[in-house]
Amino acid sequence: MAKEMLNAKRLLCPLPVIRTQDKVKKMNHGDILEVVCTDPGVMQDIPAWCRINGHKVLETLSEEMEYTIILEVG
């Protein structure tokens, strides 16, 4: 099981979703991806994208102006 990070800071949605989508395509089932963003919209959009594409959100963190989503590739 690999663990990877994605820096999507400064990007406005849907770009963080697109970058997540492109990254996940290269990962395997069960791998973990941590996405760090500055657009608060990701807190809705990345979980929505995960739900419709069969991935699992393990944790969401919100600190100051940074939003982190940890997901498991489905």
């Binding site: 400064r10 949605c13 849907p14 770009l15 979703v17 608060p40 919209g41 994208w49 419709i52 594409n53």
Partner: protein
């Protein structure tokens, strides 16, 4: 057993594409969504930059639509490829810088490529004859099918009965009788169908889903091209046209002044890309300086920044000028008096 047919639906996040996809799902077609991000898409998030819009839902409507439909959504970044559509539209622009017909041809063409790569059978869109003045007319809809290369693989479920039969209908993959014959600008048939399908909360963007249909945004884009002497742009350029007050005192530079905290927060992310300034002696907005200003220009910019801060009525205001590398210095300026700023400076 007959083969499960697969369609890709262009999902904008609006009601029509939602209904078109649902219509085909009801016929047992496997549908997945595709959404193209041009950089000019109006999203809840773009509005959410501004604090005053914080009550607007911060959601991506295309993702929301896909979730309502229970389908996968593929969001494709076409920012670079889209430049040619915007800069050289074969069919010209609409009321502003919106190349709607070329845009639709481009997107359907991309969808055609996608179905070939992913072994899908046909494409559906939420287009309705007469719904939009440029891209959704009886005479332009065949142009989209033809010039995109999709031809009779392009099915418009909401107005199919007003159009020649497509391959999915001729082959019996789709029952034409269960498609619709909507036309014109009225939204009543769509609202009734939404009601039938049980959709209650859906996006209804008044000016479409593209910033290029907006006059103010288009004016800023034209100004950017005109000042630079060419029509190139990058993502940062077009994102920054969405925020702030844009003031161009001279062709060689432009001042982008944050209008409120949300914009200032967003613009903070550009401090390493742009020379920037803000008031030091009073509370005031962040401003980014685009272009190649002279020292004299920077004083003008500082006076503008001072005018939009709390020191606007002060005799003098200290303004911090920050270089891209973080080096900073202060200048003392007299704030511009509001009505002394030439109107033609406002982009």
């Amino acid at each position: 057993m007959s083969k499960q047919r697969k369609a890709v639906a262009l999902i904008s996040g609006g009601l029509d594409s939602l209904l078109a996809a649902k219509t085909l799902l009801e016929q047992g077609i496997h549908v997945e969504g595709i959404n193209f991000f041009t950089g000019f898409c109006v999203e809840g998030h773009t509005h959410a930059i501004r604090k005053k819009d914080k009550d607007k839902p911060k959601r991506n409507n295309a993702l929301w639509s896909a979730e309502q439909l229970g389908i996968k959504l593929h969001i494709i970044d076409v920012i670079d490829e889209y430049k040619d559509v915007l800069i050289n539209p074969k069919h010209g622009y609409g009321a502003n810088m919106n190349p709607c017909l070329d845009c639709k041809i481009f997107m359907v063409h991309k969808a055609k490529e996608w179905i070939k790569e992913n072994d899908f059978d046909f494409i559906i869109t939420g287009e309705v004859i007469g719904q939009r003045p440029m891209s959704q007319r009886k005479d332009t809809m065949p142009i989209i099918a033809e010039e995109s290369g999709a031809d009779d693989l392009l099915l418009r479920p909401l107005c199919a009965k007003n159009l020649p039969m497509t391959l999915p209908e001729r082959e019996g993959w789709v029952d034409r009788e269960k498609l619709y014959g909507f036309s014109g600008r009225t939204r009543k048939p769509q609202m009734a169908l939404a009601n039938n399908f049980g959709f209650e909360d859906f996006a209804q963007p008044a000016g479409g889903c593209c910033f290029l249909t907006d006059k103010s945004y288009s004016d800023k884009l034209v100004d950017l091209w005109s000042a630079r002497g060419d029509k190139e742009y990058d993502l940062d350029d077009i994102m920054l046209l969405k925020v702030g007050r844009h003031i161009r005192p001279n062709n060689n530079f432009k001042v982008i002044v944050a209008r409120e905290d949300g914009e200032a927060r967003f613009m903070q992310g550009y401090k390493k890309e742009f020379l920037n300034m803000n008031c030091a002696s009073h509370r005031g907005p962040l401003a980014l300086i685009d272009g190649k200003p002279t020292e004299e220009d920077l004083i003008v910019a500082a006076q503008l920044v001072a005018r939009y801060g709390q020191g606007r009525d002060a005799e003098v205001v200290d303004v911090t000028i920050r270089e891209k590398d973080g080096n900073e210095r202060q200048v003392q300026v007299q704030p511009f008096i509001a009505d002394k700023i030439p109107q033609e400076w406002f982009v």
